[in-house]
Symmetry: C2
């Protein structure tokens, strides 16, 4: 039995989308046991719309809800909120494997650091989404926003965290790691990236292929793109913006003439395929890596399908042994020797 906590109140479409997504995940994976945290009456009302295996789902009543406007370090004190209560259960109950939330990113990070805690040796947790690439596979982008300011040791650890994720979540044996930079040559970038390049080249267990550029994320030149949280965030959101523009333009093109409308009827399936390939949500949100247990941050605008995918992803990553794989890779590197000034 894999026990996973689901923050039923997190995100723009909570609790309806969360509950619907959770019920579907439960149906898909008979090994799952879900604990939904949230306002009991609201969650029960939504659950009432579905039939599901009641022996594998429970509700923990949390009267309080954190929203996007709350200050993360304050929010983390609100023990009766659906997110923070879930973090405390995750920390205290050994048999619970993972937490899935579509709630505030800031509060999720703060709760991860201050309640659940980091894996021994890890300096900072990092957000890591899986981005579809043109090889028909994914590129993990780590960090994409948890750390606006980074040091080389943090970037080196992001390489470890995301490599472990690539192995545990996607079965990639020796994930190729690239450093997101403003050019591929070794000397490129600011001192942070120049130093990080040097250290990554020396790290045992990391299959470093050198610098990559923004375009290489979606072209799939590597399995893991290591980034400082500032530029990782900009890469991720630039890609999202481009994807949105394209789908808008495509829609307009289809509607632009009778001719193209007829064409669309013939192509519906192909277009749907394309939407699917650009769908970030199907890989189940971003992982908050570096913590003692699996935490998945689903997009704030998550619909039921994204929640189902996030829960399935959490289960898969737990089964794949994410945390032990991080610990194993960490053992291979002596950071005090690699980066003496740290």
């Amino acid at each position: 039995m894999i026990k996973i906590l689901v923050d039923a109140m997190g995100g723009d479409n909570a609790p309806a989308a969360i509950v619907e997504g959770a019920v579907k995940a439960l149906e898909n994976d008979k090994e799952l046991y879900l604990i939904l945290t949230g306002r009991q009456a609201d969650v029960e009302r939504e659950l009432g719309k579905f039939s599901y295996d009641k022996t594998r789902l429970e509700i923990v009543d949390c009267p309080d809800v954190i929203d996007m406007n709350d200050i993360p370090t304050e929010a983390v004190k609100r023990k009766q909120s659906s997110l923070i209560a879930a973090y405390w259960m995750l920390k205290k109950q050994d048999d619970i494997c993972a937490l899935v939330t579509a709630g505030s990113t800031g509060a999720t990070i703060a709760g991860g650091q201050l309640i659940l805690g980091r894996i021994r040796g890890i300096k900072r947790p990092a957000l890591c989404p899986a981005i579809p690439n043109s090889r028909g596979s994914i590129t993990l982008l780590c960090d994409c926003g948890a750390n606006a300011e980074c040091k080389p040791v943090m970037l080196c650890q992001f390489a470890i965290l995301a490599s472990a994720y690539a192995k545990a979540g996607f079965g990639i044996d020796k994930p190729k790691v690239g450093l997101l930079n403003n050019g591929t040559e070794e000397h490129k970038g600011d001192p942070l990236h120049q130093e990080t390049y040097k250290y990554l080249s020396q790290m045992e267990g990391i299959n470093f292929i050198g610098n990559i550029e923004g375009r290489d994320i979606m072209l799939g030149e590597c399995d893991v793109a290591v980034a400082d949280g500032f530029s990782g965030n900009i890469a991720l959101k630039s890609i999202e913006g481009c994807g949105k523009l394209v789908l808008n333009v495509l829609k307009q093109s289809f509607l632009s003439s009778l001719r193209s409308k007829i064409g669309y009827l013939f192509m519906k399936k192909a277009v749907k395929n394309m939407r699917g390939q650009l769908d970030f949500d199907k890989y189940g949100g971003a992982l908050l890596l570096g913590l003692k247990k699996v935490v998945v941050k689903s997009h704030g605008s998550s619909k039921p399908g994204a929640i189902t995918a996030s829960i399935a992803n959490a289960a898969a990553i737990y089964r794949g042994g994410l945390v032990p794989k991080v610990e194993e890779l960490l053992e291979g590197v002596d950071f005090s020797t690699l980066i003496p000034e740290e």
Copy 2:
């Protein structure tokens, strides 16, 4: 008569694509006079394939060619190269308005700084492409790679440079300026971006709308996106990568079944429209802003159409009064008062 220098040897497809693009530009705009720098025999051979107005085109023989592997600060000394010879003519001859090159970005920046020179008061030149957005207009992204490390004063000046470009090149009256950051809230980002936010809010003549995220570039939330060259480069290339992926996926979708192939026949025009809307080259490369004259850097892989667009863009921006507009905006800001430590 508008005299423009064209580096006939720069880029992957030189001199053929450059010469063809130049001839087309000459045909489109009867006020143009083009000076092609390059190996005379090669340029003449390519010119021989076309008929054109010989009274408005001359060749300056330059036996030397700089390529992408040359070190910019060394390359700048090679006065007989097509790019550097062009820069010297641009500097010395008052009646020449602009330079267009698809050659090495590094050498173009170095030549701009070391030969042509910056506008008085400008700290650093910046690369600024026009990116198509979902409003059917463009967003100027400045800087996108000339300066990997920036100070607040540089970012504030990028706002001036690109605002002047928006006015001179696209007739946008009060261009909306956003600061590319990892979130829209005022406090977001590292100290560089936090400080820049503060200064931009106080600048006369700049219509600052606050922080923007990567997605807002293509969604067209502003006319000018100010970025440090590192994250600007990552945004630009992430968008390019996404665009490439999408066009690949689209092509595959069209070819995936007989049904979709039939659909494609009906939709060819709509798809062509879409390709057009995603075509960065149609706006004629990136401007190298902050220099005493107009310099346009066309993509290294430029085809004839991109060169024609770059030449037309150079002429339009000269006509629009780019440099006087920069000087006017600069006069409105006393940087020593705005940013005391600079």
